[in-house]
């Protein structure tokens, strides 16, 4: 069954666009319906995307809508992949969590929240995963600078040390 036709038929108003690049199919869908769409992809005979390979986020700054959440589904039965993409605005990057359909999404969504600041509604445990709990900001955003540390030589040891953030006595 053609996944695009099946999705267009089942969700005529939620499928926004489709793209094909290097043989990979991307379906851009409405974020509000993502749980239903994933459930449809998993449970419909002929599609049966039973395995969630990956969920990741992407920041398209300065474009609007700014954020994307990308779901890579895979069907072991039909040996076929599908990419679903949800585009989110900069002011309101919120998307429902797909954990009810794919339990594997749990940590992926936490990682996206941690690194890109995209919120997932109805996620059971949306805490930071990789960064420390008290970290400010979301490092994978394009407006978050890539930090660096000045190399500490003997001549500037104290100077560099003064600017280090660790706790002092």
């Amino acid at each position: 069954m053609d996944p695009v036709a099946a999705l267009r038929e089942a969700f005529p108003d939620a499928v926004r666009d489709t793209q094909e690049f290097r043989g990979e199919l991307t379906v851009i869908v409405d974020g509000v319906r993502i749980v239903d769409i994933c459930r449809h992809c998993r449970d419909t005979a002929g599609l049966e995307y039973n395995f969630l390979s990956d969920v990741t986020g992407i920041d398209y700054l300065p474009q609007e809508p700014r954020f994307g959440v990308v779901y890579h589904l895979y069907s072991m039965l039909h040996n076929r992949s599908l990419r679903l993409k949800v585009l989110l605005s900069a002011e309101n990057p919120i998307v429902p969590s797909v954990i009810p359909v794919y339990a594997a999404a749990n940590w992926f969504e936490r990682e996206i929240y941690d690194l890109l600041g995209i919120m997932f509604t109805d996620h059971p445990d949306l805490r930071r995963l990789l960064m420390p709990e008290d970290w400010d900001g979301h490092p994978l955003r394009k407006d978050y600078p890539l930090g660096y540390e000045t190399v500490q030589f003997s001549f500037n040891f104290d100077e560099v040390d003064r600017h280090k953030p660790y706790a002092k006595e």
Binding site: F21, R22, E24, T26, N50, F51, L52, S53, D54, T56, I58, D59, V70, H72, M76, N79, S81, R83, Y102, A103, A104, N106, W107, E111, L115, D125, R128, L129, L130, M131, P132, P139, L140, L146
Partner: protein, 413 residues
């Protein structure tokens, strides 16, 4: 802090709410931190355990201690520069990481790879798999109490690291695979070294199996522990030997062949019960299958170039620089500015020693990747650990962690 202060320290109970049950907050069950510095967590992994006596009620993994921002760093480097960062993710399988990133770049720019380079990639990827499985077996057995297996495995691993040094000059961080092929062809001493290893290693696998496979102590500690049903394994996103230990026949080398894996004849070992022992058996059989693939690759190694001839993406050989102005221009452009792949997004998956290793690569047409994301098997398997560890004894948790073969560098990136 004195000893009495440590033992009476209560901690902040607020932080534990939502992670452990009400019984733990009232003091009925015990909350124990395992790690981050614990020899059997294979790196820096912290597990927050709620225990009723010795039984695990819940297990909350805490990761991120090895987070080095590789994905962010790669966005600031040119495509080819960023290969060096991939070595450092899963440090037991550097060539596997190089491979997935190079395949993603090649798919993005539709670049051809000569057959000889593809075969050498397969050969080295399989040697890397053996290398990784050796460290897994060594540490897994050591955790359960078999010290000698640890020493034997590391002895054999030295030979593999020597082979990696022969081809790339580096024992671990090889950066040998490049977009469009390899850094350079393998030197003369490569083939005899691999043949030596092929003759030497099968007997060593027999030795390991003699020590463990039907050892009653080993069976007691591994059978019926860490059970994972096939449905749960798929639901939780498990892949690789962890998935195949539960009897699901899904190997990316067979399902979606990459780098000419379809030219090779090999079997995909499967388990039946989905416990720690079956995952052990699957990996031991994989060692033999990997040797089989290495032998085929070496016997059928085709001649020819090891780098693509597409000069817009692959630098010309050194010998041309003295003769061709065009070669000098290409060389200069590629090493100062880098190449510009077309706009687009690709996702490539390979079978790493641990499972599905995926690379999502997005390009905006500039010489630096817009977004690189790695879907790493350890990350997903650790998120499935609470499911596997529930209702087991705390002593068995060590075996379960060993059986999913975690590398924290792979998880945290």
């Amino acid at each position: 802090m004195t000893v009495s202060e440590i033992t009476t320290w209560q901690g902040d109970v607020e932080q534990l709410k939502g992670l452990v049950s009400e019984r733990a907050l009232s003091g009925e069950t015990m909350v124990l931190n395992m790690g981050p510095q614990h020899p059997s967590t294979h790196g820096v992994l912290r597990l927050l355990l709620e225990l009723d006596g010795e039984n695990i009620i819940s297990c909350v993994p805490d990761v991120g201690f090895l987070h080095t921002g590789i994905e962010k760093n790669m966005e600031a480097k040119r495509y080819e520069q960023a290969i060096t960062m991939t070595d450092r993710m899963d440090y037991l399988s550097p060539m596997g990481n190089n491979l997935v990133y190079c395949l993603a770049m090649e798919k993005l720019i539709d670049l051809d790879v000569p057959l000889r380079a593809q075969y050498i990639r397969v050969l080295l990827a399989e040697l890397t798999r053996i290398n990784s499985h050796l460290v897994w077996l060594a540490t897994h057995a050591l955790d359960i109490g078999a010290m000698s297996v640890f020493l034997y495995c590391f002895r054999e691993r030295e030979k593999l690291l020597d082979i990696f040094e022969i081809v790339s000059g580096q024992r671990m961080m090889s950066t040998y695979f490049r977009p469009g092929g390899l850094w350079r062809d393998v030197p003369e001493e490569f083939e005899p070294a691999v043949r030596d290893f092929l003759d030497y290693f099968p007997g060593k696998i027999d030795d390991y199996e003699n020590l463990l496979t039907s050892n009653p102590l080993w069976l007691d500690r591994t059978q019926g522990i860490g059970f994972l049903s096939a449905d749960d394994a798929i639901r939780l996103g498990c892949s690789g030997p962890t998935l195949r230990g539960s009897g699901v026949n899904w190997d990316i080398r067979k399902a979606i062949p990459y780098s000419s894996y379809d030219h090779f004849d090999f079997e995909v070992p499967l388990g039946q019960h989905g416990d720690v022992y079956d995952r052990y058996i699957v990996r031991m059989k994989e060692l033999r299958q990997s040797l089989h693939i290495v032998r085929q690759a070496l016997d059928n190694l085709p001649g020819g170039p090891v780098r693509s001839n597409n000069r817009k993406y692959v630098p010309p050989p050194r010998s041309e620089l003295g003769q061709s102005m065009e070669a000098v221009i290409h060389h200069f452009k590629l090493w100062t500015e880098g190449f510009r792949p077309p706009e687009g997004e690709v996702y490539v998956r390979v079978e790493s020693p641990r499972g599905e290793l995926g690379c999502f690569l997005a390009s905006d047409g500039s010489p630096k990747p817009w977004r690189v994301h790695f879907r790493t098997p350890t990350f997903v398997h650790l998120s499935a650990l609470p499911h596997m560890a529930k209702d087991h004894l705390i002593a068995d948790l060590v075996g379960i962690i060993g059986s999913i073969d975690i590398v924290l560098g792979d998880c945290d990136r």
